[in-house]
């Protein structure tokens, strides 16, 4: 408190100091009772020392500076006062009246009041940003630059730069070699089939170290199908086709569709429920009543089956042991039979001598048959070569023929609407030529189940 008072005293004792605001009277301060507080703690100093007068003073100083651009006490008299002559009031008023009309016209040029309010009205200039003009370590940097200049003049390159320079070319080549992707649009090509540079190294060494490529087996260069890469569409597929070739193509497409429909119908027929298997009222009733009405058929049927069983058992039991005589007789009969057969065979062989011609013809016929079959089989194999093979789970599905109906055909090239997708056509062609196996698009499987929760905001509405 004492300090504050001292400050105030100092301010008041300054020569020519004027306060703008009427200050709070010192009598007030004296009048209020002093609080007794311990002064041995800094906290209390801060809390209970009265600095209002000092702040007031400083505020006043700031206020003066802001509004007038300096302390009033330091200003010269002619800036503060003027001589009031009191004469020019009347002409001024007269002049103002026509001015008002002009002002209304020139309203647009006058700044808006809102802008005026927002304008900076303080007389104190904003403080300069010192750092904007200063450079940290300027002296040091200047010295370094000077030294570098001297060295450069002498032609000496600093070590760090030298190292960088040394590294640069190597880095570049390495980077290029690494980053050039296969589909880089500016990639270069060279004569791949030109003269091969003979490897100077030992072929055995190259082979053992895996530096020589393994020779491709000849068989791999055979194509898996004899079909051409690009199958040209039938003449009916022209954008402006000849009438008949167009009809032929349409017929073909129609036949394909008919075949498909037939197959579908057949399947449907097979799957359909037979009319006789359907429940009628009668059968339904019978089913309901079943077991309630006794039938006499069962009683008749049961004894019959019993008798059959007994007969079967008897048949097994009847087989008895043969007597000696019977055995001898059987043996003799057997030998006789064999003799008869052998003599017959001999006879036939003798007879065959006379049948030589017919035998020959039959052999010839057989040979012819086999030859025919061979040719057939070969033709089939040839035909198979053009067919798509079964290479996986799915069979090759021939794509639909691309056609345009007669009313879809465009009159001119400008109005032509292309049919089918070439991408799909190429894909199917690859499949047809056995280059890739037909596949289905993998189904998306969710690993975790989705859980549906109604949001609160949504709940409130409903």
């Amino acid at each position: 408190m004492a300090a504050a008072r001292r400050l105030k005293r100092v301010a008041a004792s300054q020569p020519g100091f004027l306060t703008l605001k009427p200050s709070s009277e010192p009598a007030d301060l004296v009048g209020s009772r002093r609080k007794r507080v311990n002064k041995n703690k800094k906290k209390n100093w801060n809390k209970f020392s009265d600095i209002a007068d000092v702040e007031e003073f400083l505020e006043d100083v700031r206020h003066q500076e802001r509004t007038t651009g300096g302390l009033l006490s330091e200003k010269s008299d002619d800036t503060l006062f003027f001589v009031d002559l009191g004469q020019s009031e009347k002409p001024e008023q007269k002049a103002e009246e026509p001015d008002e009309g002009k002002k209304r016209k020139g309203k647009a040029s006058r700044p808006l009041r809102i802008d005026l309010i927002l304008q900076h009205d303080s007389h104190i200039p904003p403080p300069k940003d010192v750092l904007a003009y200063q450079q940290p370590n300027a002296k040091k940097l200047r010295r370094i630059a000077q030294k570098a200049e001297q060295l450069a003049a002498r032609g000496v390159v600093p070590r760090r730069q030298k190292r960088l320079l040394n590294r640069r070319p190597i880095d570049r080549t390495v980077n290029k070699a690494v980053t050039e992707a296969n589909n880089n649009p500016d990639r270069g090509y060279y004569n791949l089939w030109g003269q091969e540079s003979k490897d100077s190294a030992d072929p055995w060494y190259l082979q053992q170290t895996g530096k020589k490529l393994v020779k491709r087996p000849e068989k791999l260069n055979e194509k898996p199908s004899v079909l051409p890469a690009v199958e040209v569409i039938a003449p009916g597929g022209s954008y402006n086709p000849d009438f008949f070739s167009h009809q032929v193509l349409l017929q073909e497409a129609h036949n394909v569709e008919v075949k498909k429909k037939k197959q579908e119908d057949r399947l449907e027929k097979q799957l359909a429920v037979n009319k006789e298997d359907r429940a009628t009222e009668e059968t339904a009733l019978r089913e309901v009543v079943e077991g309630l009405i006794e039938e006499e058929d069962d009683e008749v049927g049961a004894p019959n089956s019993k008798e059959d069983d007994e007969a079967a058992v008897a048949a097994i039991a009847v087989t008895e042991k043969k007597t000696e005589r019977q055995r001898k007789k059987e043996k003799a009969e057997k030998i006789k039979e064999q003799q008869r057969l052998s003599s017959r065979r001999q006879n036939a062989q003798q007879q065959q001598l006379f049948q030589l011609r017919s035998i020959k013809t039959s052999i010839k016929q057989q040979e012819q048959k086999t030859k025919k079959k061979q040719v057939q089989r070969k033709a089939q194999q040839e035909a198979q070569k053009a067919q798509p093979r079964r290479l996986g789970k799915l069979k090759f599905q021939t794509p639909d023929l691309d056609i345009q109906l007669s009313d879809e055909l465009a009159g001119s090239l400008r109005q032509l609407k292309p049919e089918g997708s070439i991408l799909k056509d190429r894909f199917k062609s690859l499949q047809k030529r056995n280059l890739i196996e037909p596949r289905e698009r993998a189904k998306f499987k969710r690993r975790l189940k989705l859980k549906y929760v109604e949001k609160r905001a949504f709940k409130e509405i409903t």
Partner: protein, 581 residues
């Protein structure tokens, strides 16, 4: 007998095959990587003859590979690259997850890549091998180059494909190798003859893409990866065979012409050169500048008899080819903005024509529409406001039909607003006795050098012409006389056919009015033939009869179709007439 008992499935076909999954495990690759490897190396699944034996008794459908093929794959250096890539992806994911951006940068810089050069060399040991397999590569590259850059595949791949296809087209233009063009509802089929190989490829129409869902894009991208490499090397070789600079550079003369102030409007600087190349309007720079190509003449060998005939035929063919190559030479085309620019420019330039278009359509236009020396303007709209007298306004089909017919067709059928004649497929080759559409017959007659006024089989067309310009009524009488004579001739031929005794089965409509000595000779020939038939053995006769019967049946069918066509045309004409009245 001693020894161990034989176990099942330890020898024979069971040991020659390996299932896909086992192969995958053997190579230590994931399934997509395995698939890629197989496509790149050209190893395809194989269907075994006895599936049950191979599958160790099970009949479940599986994909099999030959074990030796898989063993061969084990030596491939790319396999290790695939594994490296897998690890790279794992590391990158981890770095992203931990938000370690410096690590991400470092990893990306060291991304493992691989080259397919050695695989191309291995799969196609000679250049001709590669050329034989280029069809697929071209189709794929043309397809991918038209894709939108929407993330279905790498943008870089699309750019590379575009570059390669432009190079290819420029080569075909420079070597004048194009032979056939067919506009189908799917896309445009081109056929070129490069170094004696017929190469067919399919180009999609512009802006015709919907992306089908049942196509595996990864597989297609893998194929494209291989094919871009292949096509690049083939292009290099082809350019060098023509002494052209590779990568292609525009001719210095053309380049200076093309430099315009509006250049920046079309494309970025980096892309404008490719765009200019793809405009196809100017020729390419050569390594050794040659003013005129020397004409390569066939070596002449002394030949006798049949060889002589063959040689003559070959020579004739060669001559025809030469003329076809210069089909549009000296003609100046202008393309309206509604026609497919790239296809037409390509086709016209392939046959020596000069072509230009509106400046705002594409970069590289060489002259304006107001140029007085333009001979043909290609238009695809019903009418044009301002027409120049000294040029023909034709529909785009004319260009393609001319190419296929190998001659300049009369432009009357292709004028503005005229119903076009059908666009016939040049890929169909009719055998003797097959049905030939009348339009084709007309073209064939033109090829032989007959004038359209002497048309013999295409009566109604003449009628149409007559209807159009009725001033020629005087000539019409003559025509009618001729027609009657022809009809008589036809009737006679029909009668002969119906009797079934005529031995001269050839349909030679152009040679009906032969001179007397020729006819005598013909008769003599026929006589000889008949005698030869009489001398045949029974067995041979049987075979001969069978063949002849087949031929006759074919002719009968063809006649039926022709009659049908005539009826159809008559009906159409009747309708037209009614409409006019």
């Amino acid at each position: 007998m001693g020894g161990l008992p034989k176990k099942k499935f330890e020898r024979g076909s069971a040991t020659n095959y390996i299932t896909r999954n086992r192969a995958r495990k053997k190579l230590m690759l994931s399934l997509p990587d395995f698939r890629r490897l197989c496509i790149l190396k050209g190893i395809y699944p194989h269907e075994p003859k006895h599936k049950k034996k191979v599958n160790k008794g099970s009949t479940a459908p599986r994909t099999f590979y030959l074990l030796k093929d898989i063993r061969f794959l084990l030596h491939e250096p790319i396999v290790s690259k695939f594994r490296e890539y897998k690890i790279f992806v794992r590391k990158l994911k981890r770095a992203y997850g931990k938000t370690e951006w410096s690590d991400v940068e470092r990893l990306k810089d060291n991304k493992p890549t691989y080259k397919l050069d050695h695989i191309v060399k291995e799969r196609y040991p000679t250049f001709i091998d590669a050329l034989r397999d280029i069809d697929d590569a071209l189709c794929m590259c043309f397809l991918f180059s038209t894709f939108a850059r929407t993330g279905k595949c790498h943008v870089q791949t699309i750019q590379l494909c575009r570059r390669l296809t432009v190079e290819w087209m420029n080569y075909v233009v420079a070597s004048r190798a194009l032979r056939k063009v067919f506009l189908s509802i799917k896309g445009i089929y081109y056929q070129a003859e490069v170094m004696g190989q017929l190469i067919t490829w399919l180009v999609p129409y512009q802006f015709s893409h919907d992306h089908p869902t049942d196509v595996d894009y990864r597989v297609m991208a893998t194929f494209t990866e291989l094919y871009t490499t292949l096509l690049g090397f083939v292009n290099f070789r082809l350019y060098h065979s023509l002494n052209l600079v590779y990568p292609p550079k525009l001719d210095s003369k053309a380049e200076s012409e093309l430099k315009e102030e509006h250049e920046d409007d079309y494309a970025m600087n980096s892309e404008s050169y490719l765009e200019k190349l793809s405009a196809l309007s100017s020729s390419l720079a050569r390594v050794v500048s040659t003013d005129e190509e020397e004409e390569a003449k066939l070596d002449e060998f002394p030949a006798e008899g049949e060889d002589m005939e063959q040689m003559e035929a070959i020579e004739k063919e060669q001559k025809q080819l030469e003329t076809q190559k210069k089909l549009f030479e000296g003609l100046k085309f202008f393309l309206n903005r509604e026609v497919p620019r790239e296809s037409l420019a390509f086709t016209i330039r392939c046959f020596g024509g000069r072509v230009s278009w509106d400046k705002s359509v594409c970069i590289g236009s060489t002259y304006d529409m107001t140029d007085e020396t333009i001979t043909h303007q290609i238009v695809d709209r019903p009418n044009v406001d301002k027409q120049y007298i000294n040029r023909d306004y034709i529909q785009p089909q004319w260009v393609y039909d001319c190419v296929n017919a190998k001659i300049l067709l009369p432009v009357e059928d292709y004028f503005l607003g005229v119903t076009l004649p059908p666009h016939l497929s040049p890929f169909v080759e009719e055998k003797e006795g097959d049905y030939v559409p009348p339009e084709k017959l007309k073209i064939m007659a033109l090829q032989r050098g007959e004038k359209p006024a002497q048309e013999q089989w295409h009566d109604d067309d003449e009628d149409e012409e007559d209807e159009e310009d009725e001033d020629e009524e005087e000539e019409e009488d003559n025509d009618d006389d001729e027609e009657e004579a022809e009809e008589e001739n036809l009737k006679q031929m029909e009668e002969q056919r119906s009797q079934g005794k005529s031995l001269q089965v050839k349909v030679t409509p152009g040679k009906v009015k032969a001179d007397n000595p020729a006819r005598l000779k013909e008769e003599e020939m026929a006589e000889e033939k008949r005698l030869a038939i009489m001398m045949m053995k029974k067995k041979e006769k049987y075979l001969y009869d069978k063949i002849m019967f087949g031929k006759k049946r074919k002719i009968r069918e063809a006649n039926k179709l022709a009659a049908k066509r005539k009826a159809h045309d008559d009906a159409e004409k009747g309708k037209k007439k009614k409409a006019r009245k």
